[in-house]
């Protein structure tokens, strides 16, 4: 799983023009220095499923929407995401299915998946 600054991650994601689905886990650690000159080379399709969990850095999501000139996911699964509104707005035209966790009583427990 790739790790890095916001821009490094977005640059990496931007290497896959036909990428449909994306999962973002946790937030980017602070010790990665972001390089604003690093711009993705390609714009992924991003027309599939977006799943985001425990994500506190809304700025990465904003950069993703800005640098890729929008996102077009048709499925979103959002758990404890700061920047959820940004994603919801960006996919207003394309979103078909939304999974949300209002008042999830079990938080981040792991289950059989180990």
């Amino acid at each position: 799983m790739p790790k890095g600054s916001y821009r490094q991650i977005l640059f990496f994601v931007g290497m896959f023009q036909y990428l449909e689905d994306l999962r973002l886990l946790s937030c980017v650690p602070d010790h990665f220095e972001s390089d604003p000159t690093l711009v993705p080379l390609l714009t992924p399709l991003f027309g599939g499923r977006l799943r985001v969990m425990r994500f506190t850095r809304a700025s990465l999501l904003k950069d993703m929407v800005d640098l890729f000139e929008g996102i077009r996911f048709h499925y979103m699964d959002l758990f404890n995401v700061n920047g959820m509104g940004l994603l919801m707005d960006a996919c207003a035209e394309t979103l078909e299915t939304l999974r949300v966790y209002p008042t999830d009583p079990r938080g981040e427990q792991l289950s059989l998946k180990g």
Partner: protein
């Protein structure tokens, strides 16, 4: 244009507006968010409030479904070995689970009153548990149907399964 959503992850919005999402077909919510498995057997008022406002905000003409998502933890006493899947429940656990399902169906009716939808019960479980969990959910539907408590629905609830592989994080939350 400023975002119409203004909230933090910790404070889930009370006024979740989906009026601009014209392609929205389905909303998925975890069963335990609606009625926690804490023994209280009462709907979570915050979740119901959220669902009421969310459902009433939907303007999509293609919106038809609400999927209630059940995870492995929602099936008491469920376990497995390499060769078999088993379920060991005390009578108290069994009674609690029946009551939990009953409470959920009461909540579903409240949700339906806000906006009509096709009710889907979705077992989002590890693949090998698929048949067993679907059977449990079908039994829960059968109990409600036999008691005439699903007469308000034009279509019978549909039980579906979204099996995961063992290393698939699925929807992350667990």
């Amino acid at each position: 244009m400023p975002s119409q959503f203004n909230f933090t992850a910790e404070l889930f919005p009370r006024d979740f507006d989906l009026s601009r999402h014209r392609a929205l077909r389905r909303l998925e919510v975890l069963a335990t968010c609606i009625v926690p498995r804490d023994g209280s057997l009462t709907s979570n008022p915050a979740t119901l409030s959220f669902l009421r406002s969310t459902l009433s905000s939907i303007t999509s003409h293609v919106f038809t479904e609400v999927a209630i998502v059940y995870r492995e933890e929602d099936f008491s006493g469920l376990g497995f070995t390499y060769s078999r899947i088993y379920r060991e429940m005390t009578s108290a656990q069994s009674a609690a689970e029946i009551s939990w399902h009953r409470s959920l169906f009461i909540a579903f009716r409240e949700m339906y009153a806000m906006r009509g939808f096709r009710l889907l019960l979705c077992a989002d479980v590890w693949g090998r548990l698929r048949e067993y969990t679907v059977e449990v959910l079908e039994s829960a539907v059968a109990v409600e149907k036999a008691a005439g408590r699903l007469d308000y629905l034009p279509l019978e609830p549909l039980v579906i399964c979204s099996p995961r592989g063992f290393n698939d994080l699925g929807s992350f939350a667990y």
